[in-house]
């Protein structure tokens, strides 16, 4: 019963994609931290910021069916399913990315990857609920790029509420921001689901 649903939502392809993303994240982090002119593990913020966005964008594909309204007309506890969907999707992608950063978890490694995945998933699910799954990628990509560029360098904890993509694990504000995005996404998406997108694009 669950396998057709997973297939309909492209879960096998997305899972394969996550493996690729994790491999790329590992390779990129390896390359950055081995540059002689950069300072080792500290050189990994680009990976910690971008890999979670890519993972969340991939997972966003699974957040809506081919016909949302048709699906909702069926007798399934969709709220619970959606809740579980986001939780499982986030856990799996955060774990996959965190694995690549375990060798030095606390300096733009596993902790930041996991936190940013949670936050990016939050942004993606909020966008899915408000604008539909097909467009959910745009805000998180634009936001992360802008925050990465605009964040004061060196990073300061005071701006963590919006510079979470580039904050170290030691900044509690970034964890709170991630939690807030995730909670908002979870509530909106579990309650309303993806916005049906008859007007997906024009």
């Amino acid at each position: 019963m669950i396998r057709p649903h997973l297939r309909a939502r492209y879960v096998p392809g997305v899972a394969a994609g996550l493996v690729v993303v994790a491999a790329l994240a590992w390779a990129a982090a390896e390359w950055l931290s081995s540059r002689p002119y950069l300072d080792g593990a500290e050189a990994r913020p680009p990976v910690a910021a971008l890999a979670p966005v890519l993972a969340a964008v991939l997972v966003s594909v699974t957040l809506a069916g081919a016909d949302e309204e048709l699906e909702r007309s069926t007798a399934r506890p969709w709220r619970a399913i959606r809740l579980a969907h986001v939780l499982v999707g986030t856990t799996v992608s955060a774990a996959a990315l965190a694995l690549t950063g375990l060798w030095e978890p606390a300096r733009y490694g596993a902790y930041e990857l996991a936190r940013n995945t949670v936050a990016a998933m939050g942004m993606v699910t909020v966008a899915t609920a408000l604008a539909g799954a097909a467009r959910a990628w745009a805000p998180v990509i634009a936001y992360t790029g802008a925050a990465y560029l605009a964040a004061p360098k060196p990073v300061i904890a005071g701006t963590a509420w919006w510079t979470w993509p580039v904050q170290p694990a030691s900044a509690p504000g970034a964890w709170w921001a991630a939690a807030a995005w995730f909670a908002a996404g979870l509530v909106l998406y579990a309650r309303n689901g993806a916005r049906p997108t008859a007007d997906r694009d024009a």
């Binding site: 008859a198 007007d199 997906r200 694009d201 024009a202």
Partner: protein, 252 residues
């Protein structure tokens, strides 16, 4: 409008998709008028439409549309300017209004710029959508979308008009209006209508071609098809004719 005696000339047409043969030695000559194209699913109706619409290249055989060979590139552009096509699956940009969408196609079909506004209005009016012309396509019902599709197909006053299932989704009243439109269009142009609704053919078409497994198994007037009705199933003479001809073709 160019005077052409034979609008469509198909000789020994073979079309294959991978290993499946969709059209297998089809011969067909069509002049001005409304021609019905009947046949069961998979008979090759849509494939024939797509060949004539210049989007599918045949494996062999000759296809001339409006005196232009559409199996090569040389005259494609001239032919396409005088072509109207409504595909079975009609895609559209949901945020465009009917008028904008039809205007876009007028431009794509190279209608001279100064004639576009009048041509767009006329096409929308003939499709019966004038009161919804400034509505966005995503707000239209299925039948109205179909009419928007017809409007884009006729915006360039085509000499060959290919309509694949044009009446799907139209309500009975709209279908009556649509048949009337077909008769008007068929005065000068060659209109080829592919459909499963045999009563549309009976009411609007001057002649009928019935395809079966990639070949024409019947060519004649609707009355001639109805006359073949002995031994067929159906609720009307032409339905009985349709099933009888197919049955004969299958047993042959």
């Amino acid at each position: 409008m160019t005077i052409t005696s034979t609008h469509v000339d198909v000789r020994d047409l073979v079309v294959r998709y991978r290993r499946r043969t969709a059209l297998n030695g089809l011969d067909l000559r069509l002049g001005a008028g409304v021609h019905g194209l009947l046949g069961p699913n998979g008979a090759g109706k849509t494939t024939l439409m797509r060949v004539l619409a210049t989007v599918v290249r045949p494996a062999s055989g000759g296809v001339t549309v409006l005196d232009g060979d559409v199996t090569g590139d040389a005259r494609l552009r001239q032919v396409r300017r005088r072509l109207g096509y409504l595909p079975q699956q009609f895609g559209y940009y949901p945020r465009f209004t009917v008028r904008e969408f039809v205007e876009y196609f007028a431009w794509l079909k190279e209608v001279p710029r100064d004639r576009i506004p009048a041509a767009v209005d006329r096409a929308i009016e003939r499709a019966g959508l004038l009161d919804r012309a400034d509505e966005r396509l995503k707000r239209l019902s299925g039948g109205m979308l179909r009419r928007a599709g017809i409007a884009q197909a006729i915006v360039n006053d085509p000499d060959v008009l290919l309509l694949d299932e044009p009446t799907a989704g139209l309500d009975p009243e709209q279908r009556v209006d649509f048949r009337e439109l077909l008769r008007v269009l068929g005065v000068d142009a060659c209109v080829l209508v592919s459909t499963h609704l045999v009563e549309d053919v009976a009411a609007a078409c001057a002649d009928v071609t019935l395809l079966h497994e990639g070949r024409a198994v019947f060519r004649g007037t609707p009355a001639e098809l109805a006359a073949r009705g002995a031994g067929g199933d159906g609720d009307s003479p032409i339905e009985r004719g349709y099933t009888a001809v197919l049955r004969a073709a299958r047993s042959a």
